[in-house]
């Protein structure tokens, strides 16, 4: 509704703009710098990436090889393995951050004392760089001198010794660090959504004798459904493209156990300098991102109308 009146008003102002002709192209001039920057450093690299994915460097020359890079990639077991690792990493990350974020937001939304204080503290990990956060977690689980590892050895030995050096343990550490950092984001978004749910609806439901769980699942959740979907999409984009934490905690090891597709791209395209295959991985990741983005835009777009 408000958008409709706004655009009607915008038209009114357009007419009232003095100077008429002279400022006819003003909107275009205002947009131009941004569009040029985006074309040069976002759109062009993306197209360049698609081109590179069809080439291979032989003796310093770029040779067109068609879809050969993709064919070879899909027959490479370590790449398939990295896709599987990405799936495990992302799914766990999404489930944990979204559900815990919702839970924390519900508690924060009760608005007892210190709510603002808790929110700020819970948000701090998000402000810290991935590589710094990763370094801290790596230190906590350092096999011989790490504090958390030594506490595990003492109080919870069933979790395992030297977790950092086992494949399951290393993946768990990376996911724990990612959730630790990402929880801030989903908590804030959930809280923002919960605050738009009218208090009367919840109260009338509890007058009808709805229990807490009933109230959440049948009254609150339907109201904030679009935000939950947005959170799932944004957290999946985050986790599919996340590299910094893995780089700083495990470098993809041990034995490739924490090598996600994104990390595979970094290794093959940058460390090994194989531009063609690296670009092919980029294109595959890009397609996954585009699919998620279109879904995101359609939710955001629908809500606006």
């Amino acid at each position: 509704m408000s958008n409709l009146t706004l655009s009607a008003r915008a038209e009114a102002v357009q007419h009232s703009f003095s100077g008429g002709r002279k400022y006819r192209w003003l909107p275009l001039w205002l947009l131009l710098p941004s569009i040029l920057v985006l074309l040069a450093l976002q759109v062009y690299p993306t197209l360049y990436s698609i081109y590179l994915s069809t080439t291979r460097v032989r003796r310093g020359e770029f040779m067109y090889v068609g879809l050969a890079n993709f064919e070879r990639l899909l027959r490479t077991p370590s790449f398939i393995e990295s896709l599987r690792t990405s799936l495990v990493y992302s799914t766990t990350y999404i489930i944990l951050t979204v559900s815990l974020g919702l839970m924390l937001a519900l508690l924060l939304n009760r608005r007892f004392k210190f709510t603002g204080f808790y929110l700020v503290i819970i948000f701090i990990p998000w402000v810290i760089s991935e590589v710094v956060a990763g370094t801290m977690w790596r230190w906590l689980f350092q096999p011989t001198y790490g504090l958390l590892q030594s506490w595990i050895n003492l109080y919870a030995p069933f979790l395992g010794e030297r977790l950092y050096t086992t494949s399951g343990g290393a993946l768990a550490i990376v996911i724990a660090a990612a959730v630790w950092r990402g929880l801030a984001f989903t908590t804030l978004l959930s809280l923002g959504a919960l605050q738009t749910v009218p208090q009367e609806i919840i109260e009338s439901a509890s007058l009808d004798g709805a229990s807490r769980f009933q109230r959440f699942f049948s009254v609150i959740l339907p109201q904030i459904r679009p935000t939950v979907l947005v959170m799932i999409l944004l957290t999946s984009i985050q986790s599919i493209n996340s590299v910094g934490l893995i780089f700083s905690i495990t470098r993809g090891g041990p034995g490739g156990a924490t090598r996600t597709a994104a990390y595979y791209l970094l290794q093959i395209g940058w460390e090994q300098g194989d531009f063609g295959t690296g670009a092919a991985v980029s294109v595959i990741l890009f397609m996954i991102n585009i699919t998620l983005t279109i879904a995101y835009l359609s939710i955001i777009g629908r809500r606006r109308d």
């Binding site: 706004l6 915008a10 205002l30 007892f112 810290i128 710094v132 801290m136 230190w139 001198y145």
Partner: protein, 284 residues
């Protein structure tokens, strides 16, 4: 309402317990990092590890403050973050003004296309950007300044998000104010600079802040595009790995030095920060 006083009291206590636990989890790794940074090499390699340093020492900070971290990397990060955030907020203000106040054929599609670019991760552009950088001679020490180039890359990366949030701040400013300014004889450009921008200043500040923190923390592009003394804090952190593999007092001191500036910014301006993130992800 049938909620008794007792259940309310129970609710209050259990809420504080759970929130307190999560706050503790959030702060614990940082607190331990801070404690480690005040230990000596021997104390870092003590088994079993202790939480507090037995004696407070500054060996780690001494090493960090006499390294390339404070000679180069901090300044490079400051340069990149300031430059790209300033340019992003300037360009995005102009573009957002068009999207907020004008409708023309294709304007809606263009807006969505730019929002779509927001979702292209820096990661998938890495290989081509490396190629472009090496073609431009950015990677050679005597070539184009690497930090200028990477600031441009950050600008392009941050623009879509900034346009998105600044536009929603512009949308909330009543259009009558500009109309009045126009009637008083302002040109549209003057109306933007003298009326709209000052009113949207908190929103611009918020966008600047988010962009600054993101750039400060960025790792991947910096890893691929920067070499030697052109590196930033997040990449420079790894200097301490090669020479001090197990010297975690030095590593953690470096971590504290790197996170402190953005942490202070966040705590001081947290309201703006939250507002901008909510606008960016959910509204528009």
């Amino acid at each position: 309402m049938v909620t008794s006083k007792l259940t309310r009291r129970f609710d209050q206590i259990s809420t504080h317990l759970v929130l307190g636990l999560f706050a503790l989890i959030a702060i614990f790794p940082i607190a331990y990092t801070l404690m480690t940074s005040f230990k000596s090499q021997d104390e870092v390699l003590t088994r079993p590890p202790t939480f507090f340093p037995p004696t407070w020492r500054f060996d780690g900070y001494n090493t960090v403050f006499n390294s390339d971290m404070t000679r180069f990397y901090l300044w490079n990060s400051l340069f990149n973050s300031t430059l790209s955030s300033t340019v992003v907020v300037t360009l995005a203000s102009l573009a957002s003004y068009t999207f907020s106040r004008y409708r023309f054929r294709g304007s809606r599609a263009l807006e969505l296309a730019i929002l779509g670019l927001m979702m292209i991760p820096g990661l998938t552009n890495l290989v081509p950007l490396y190629r472009i950088a090496s073609d431009l001679g950015v990677l050679r020490p005597q070539g184009l300044n690497a930090n200028l180039f990477i600031s441009a890359v950050y600008t392009a990366g941050g623009l879509p998000f900034a346009i998105w949030i600044i536009k929603s701040f512009f949308d909330s400013i009543p259009i009558e104010l500009e109309e009045a300014a126009l009637i008083d004889g302002c040109t549209p450009v003057q109306a933007l600079i003298r009326v709209v921008i000052p009113l949207a200043a908190p929103g611009l500040m918020a966008a600047f802040l988010l962009m600054f923190v993101d750039t400060w923390n960025e790792f991947l592009a910096a890893l691929v595009l920067l070499n030697g003394t052109a590196r930033t804090v997040t990449v420079g952190l790894y200097d301490f790995q090669s020479s001090f593999e197990i010297a975690y007092h030095v590593w953690t001191a470096a971590c504290i030095v790197i996170m402190l500036p953005v942490l202070i910014l966040f705590v001081l301006l947290r309201k703006r920060f939250f507002e901008a993130m909510l606008q960016g992800a959910l509204k528009g």
